[in-house]
Structure formats: C-alpha cells, structure tokens
C-alpha cells in the first residue's frame, strides 16, 4: 500500500481505497464465525428497534399473580420477580444496552482518537503532556475508574455510560498514538509535509485513513467490553435504576430468586453473552480481514 501511495498520483487514491474495503469485505464474508456474529447483532438490533411494535407485553406492567412463573406458551421466557414478561423486557433492554454501548465507544473515539493523533504527530511537550494524562488514567483499573466517576456523578445509566466511556479513552489514544508514530514516517506523509500542507489536512487526510483499520477493530472489541461493563455497573446498582428494562439490572433483581426461578437470571445473562460474543467474533473477523498477516 505504501508503494502505491508514493508512486501513483493522488487522484488514484480513492479508487485504491475503495478496492481495499471491498477486498476486506470479501475476506470478512468468508469468515463464517464473523458472519454469524454479524447476523446475531443484526437480529438483536432488529429486536431493539421493533420492541415497541413486536414485544408481546409492556416491559414495566406487572401481573402480580404471575410472579416468577416459568416459561410458558403465553410468556416464552417466563415472568420476573414482579410479574413482568421477561421476553418483552429483554427486547426493550436490548435498546438500552446497544445505545449505551455505542455511546461508550463514541466517547472513547471522540476524545481518545484526537488525543492520540495529536500526541503521536506533534511529539515533544504535547506528546509528553497527553501521554502523562493517559498514564494517570491507566493508574486505575478501568472498572474502578468507572466506579469512581459514577460515585461523583451519581448512579444512573447515563452516568454509567459516561463513566465507562471516559475509562475507555486511554485504549484509543494509546493505540492511535502508537500507529501514528509509525505512519508519520511514511514517504507520503513526509511528502505532504514538504509541500506545505496544513497540519490539519495531513492528520485528517493522510494519517487518520491509515490508522482507521486498527481503530475500527478496537471499536468493535471495546463495544463488547462496554456492554459487559455497563451491565456490570447496573448489576451493582450503579447504572440503570428500576424499573428500567436493562439487562444488567434484570440480573441484579433476579439473583435473589435464583433458587426458585432461575429463568429470570438465565435469559438476560444469555442475552449479554450472545451480544458480547457476537461483537468479539466480528472484531476477530475484521482484524483478520483487514490484516491477513495476523491470521493464525
């Protein structure tokens, strides 16, 4: 790729990059596990979007006489500890989980990527400052940092999302900085600098596209981690609050009844695992597709 960039004229670059993505997509589609992951994610997204239309019951409405009843034809996944339909709560909960997961990654991207780009490109004092900031954050285990931030902001799903998003920043900035350090030595960057291109355009037009592959892979993996962490905070009572249908919170309230009604905890746990597993499969597939040398 480096060779192409330096020998061809700039106008050829878009076509080259389109074929790169097409090639990646082709390799990705050959990875059966990754495609399966993508299909599961699509189904869960569909369930989340169509929940208001397709969910069989209201996720919050209680039928006290049916508390903790096991799965039946009327209630496919049974009823929870307050007599709410578990399937409906799962469908609505998918929404909460996906949205908060995406926001976590967005926070990491929006703050972490520019931080890493600037630090890696500028070097010197700016890099030192940015990286000490990141090191300071890394002095805390990520989940602990999230708990600390929730302690300041107060326990809500929104705050849990922000907290985990902030704890995700170091992963992005470190990855981007590392990649920028190697990309900026490439001839096409040196050439752009020597023609007097503004720094912004060099970062945006020449460096970012060349680190985007690893950013995409990291985003997918971080999305999986974000879902686990948000559910974890909700499980501790530090995220979503009742009666929100959120998967981690469903596990929290169902755990009291694990002896009499295990179905209340099995369903949301299974849902979290399936979604996280799918994102991990897609992440692995993307990594292999984007960089075939890494395949083992």
């Amino acid at each position: 790729m480096t060779g192409q960039g330096t020998t061809r004229r700039a106008t050829v670059v878009p076509r080259a990059s389109v074929s790169l993505w097409r090639e990646t997509a082709r390799r990705f589609m050959r990875d059966r596990a990754a495609v399966l992951g993508l299909v599961i994610i699509a189904l869960i997204v569909l369930a989340a979007i169509t929940a208001p239309l397709l969910a069989p019951y209201d996720p919050i409405e209680q039928t006290l006489s049916l508390r903790r009843t096991p799965p039946s034809p009327q209630h496919l996944l049974g009823m929870d500890e307050l007599g709410r339909d578990v399937l409906s709560r799962l469908m609505y909960g998918a929404n909460q989980t996906l949205v908060s997961g995406v926001f976590v990654v967005l926070i990491g991207l929006v703050i972490g990527v520019p931080l890493g780009l600037v630090a890696g490109y500028a070097g010197g004092f700016v890099e030192g400052l940015a990286m000490r900031f990141v090191d300071g954050m890394l002095a805390f285990p990520a989940f602990l940092l999230a708990i600390v931030i929730v302690a300041v902001l107060g326990p809500t799903l929104q705050n849990a999302t922000i907290a985990i998003g902030i704890a995700t920043i170091p992963a992005f900035s470190r990855l981007v900085r590392g990649n920028v350090l190697s990309v900026k030595r490439n001839e096409y960057v040196v050439a752009a600098v020597s023609t007097g291109a503004p720094t912004g355009r060099i970062l945006w037009g020449h460096i970012l596209p060349n680190v985007s592959a690893s950013i995409i892979v990291l985003s997918t993996v971080q999305l999986a981690n974000a879902i686990l962490s948000v559910a974890g905070l909700s499980f501790l009572g530090l995220g979503a609050q009742p009666p929100t249908p959120e998967w981690g919170l469903m596990l929290r309230s169902g755990r009291e009844y694990i002896q009499q009604a295990p179905h209340i905890t099995i369903a949301p746990g299974m849902a979290i695992m399936l979604l996280v597993l799918s994102f991990n499969l897609v992440g692995d597939g993307l990594r292999d597709a984007l960089d075939p040398r890494l395949r083992r």
């Binding site: 000490r132 090191d135 300071g136 002095a139 805390f140 285990p141 990520a142 989940f143 602990l144 708990i147 600390v148 929730v150 302690a151 300041v152 326990p155 999986a224 686990l228 559910a231 974890g232 499980f235 501790l236 009572g237 530090l238 981690g248 596990l251 755990r255 694990i258 002896q259 295990p262 905890t265 099995i266 746990g269 979290i272 695992m273 399936l274 996280v276 597993l277 991990n280 499969l281 083992r296």
Partner: protein, 312 residues
C-alpha cells in the same frame, strides 16, 4: 539493573501522586457540603462550622490537599460517614479478603492458562485447540457476575457441594470451600486472556531459529518446548498477567457482590450508595496503589526475564 529499577521507581512516584490528587478531588467534585453529608440535613450551622474547622474543610484547596497527604502518610484516612469507624481500620478488615480472592483467582488462571496455552500451541489446529478456542471466546464474552450466579445455581443449589456465599467460619476447610466458587468465577476472564496470549506467544517462539537449533541438536520435543520455548514465551504473558491482576482487584467488586464476600470491592459499592466519600477514597487509593506496585513488580520481572529491556 540498578539504574533500571531506579528509573521505574521514579515513574511510579508521580503516578502515586496523581492517584492521590484524583482521589482527593473526588470529594471536592461531588455536589454538596461534606460537613452536611457527615452530620445530616438537620445539623445546626454552628455544628457544621465547627466540623468544617475540625477537618480543615474551610482551608484553601491546596492546603487541604497537603493536610490530606500528611494524614495519608500517617495512615489516617479519616472516618466513614456511615459507620463512623476509621477508614484505615475498615480497609485493614476487608483488604485481606479481597487479596485472598484475587490471588486465588490469579493462581487458577495461571495454573490452568499457561499449560493450556502451551498444549494448544503445540497441538495447533487439533481437537483440543479448537475446543479451547471456542471455550475461550465464550468465556471472555460472559459477564463474570452471571457466571458466578450460574456456579452458585449449579454447585450450591443443585448439587449442594459448596456454600452459596460468605467467607467461612475460620477453619481451613470452611474457608477453602467458601473460596472455590468466587475464585473460579473471578478467574474465568483472566484465564481466557492468558490462554489466548500464551498460545500465540508460544507459536511465535516455536517459529524462532533457536528452537530449530535446539531441535536439530536432537533434544526431546518437550525439553525444547519447556526449556527453550516456554521461558521466552512467558515474557509478554507476565506483563498481561500483571495488568490482569489489577483488573481482578477492580472486578472483585462484582464477584464479591455475587458471593457476599466481605472484601474491599463490596465496601466501595456500599460506600457509593451511601455517599460515604472517605471510605470510597480510601478503598480506591488502596486498589490503585496496589495496581501501580504490581505493575512496577511486573516491569522488574520483565527486565529479569528479558535482559534487552534493561539496556534500552
């Protein structure tokens, strides 16, 4: 080696200071007057003023920080807003439980993860490798609080083999039986990470020239793998194991909640609920400091295993 250790120590000190500043600011950033939090809503202005004076809350921020640091160095972490007990005492009571859990989990992760990583690398593409790959993928995708609940359901409720929660009554037998499920549950994620890394690191090493040389000398396969391969393959695993240990300490908040394990993680969670900032502060400080020290130790082990590091 001496210079290297010194350099690493010099990096750790500012990090510890950063941790202390963050933890100090925790209380400043939270809405509400700490004195009111401590005394309750119906406290008189006089008693609030008195308390603010007593704890130095009326001093300028930098001076408050120095006071905090001074107390910290004397081992005084203040008193819990909730129980009024000394935070240092509370931590001394709960810390051994968390450490015991995290060490046991790490021991399980290493004892199972390292050999499994080596075996699957050597038998790459075989049945065991395939099965391990799937199990590892499923394990890293499982919320540890959920796998904990499933373990309780199966081994405690269904089979009745092990206790559901708590830490035991002090006898070795009871303590061990209480430790098994939470330790296994907490270990799963790190175990999966270690297997995966050990396998790929071992595969890298097995492709090296010195392994081919050792083989061509006619050494037995397992001698080559264990003596020449494993030591080199361990190097990247050591770093990750260190990082994982820190994550275990933080993740223990979940496992401790599931198993009612009386550790620091559960202490933090309850403290967040009751807005008991001195306790949160002390616990976070303790965990973060341990994390930094463990990473420092890992760096030293790393330098010992790989002499190239010392001279870079």
């Amino acid at each position: 080696m001496g210079a290297y250790i010194l350099r690493r120590l010099l990096v750790a000190i500012p990090l510890l200071l950063v941790v202390s500043i963050v933890v100090f600011l925790l209380m400043q950033l939270t809405p509400g007057d700490p004195a009111v939090l401590m005394l309750g809503q119906d406290a008189t202005p006089q008693s609030i003023a008195q308390l603010r004076n007593q704890f130095g809350l009326d001093l300028p921020l930098p001076q408050q920080y120095l006071l905090f640091l001074e107390n910290l160095l004397r081992g005084d972490l203040g008193r819990s807003f909730g129980t009024r007990l000394s935070v240092a005492g509370e931590l001394a009571r709960t810390w051994p439980a968390t450490l015991e859990l995290a060490v046991a989990a790490m021991a399980i992760a290493l004892a199972v993860g390292l050999p499994l990583g080596v075996i699957t690398a050597v038998g790459r593409g075989g049945v065991l490798d395939q099965i391990t790959r799937v199990v590892v993928l499923v394990t890293v995708s499982m919320p540890i609080f959920w796998s904990g609940l499933l373990l309780i359901y199966y081994f405690s409720v269904q089979l009745g083999w092990l206790p559901t929660s708590g830490r035991g009554d002090g006898t070795v037998e009871s303590e061990l039986s209480h430790l098994i499920l939470p330790a296994v549950s907490l270990s799963t994620f790190s175990l999966a990470v270690i297997v995966r890394l050990m396998r790929s690191s071992m595969l890298d090493v097995l492709g090296e020239d010195y392994i081919r040389t050792a083989r061509s000398k006619g050494l037995r396969t397992w001698t080559v793998i264990l003596r020449h391969g494993m030591k080199n393959a361990l190097i990247p695993v050591v770093t990750v194991a260190g990082l994982q240990f820190g994550q275990l300490l933080a993740g223990a908040a979940l496992t401790e909640t599931v198993f009612n394990w009386p550790g620091v993680g559960r202490l933090v969670v309850t403290a967040v609920f009751s807005r008991d900032y001195p306790t949160i502060r002390g616990a976070v400080l303790l965990i973060a400091t341990t994390f930094i020290i463990v990473n420092l130790l890992v760096d030293l082990v790393y330098a010992f295993l790989d002499p190239r590091i010392r001279y870079s």
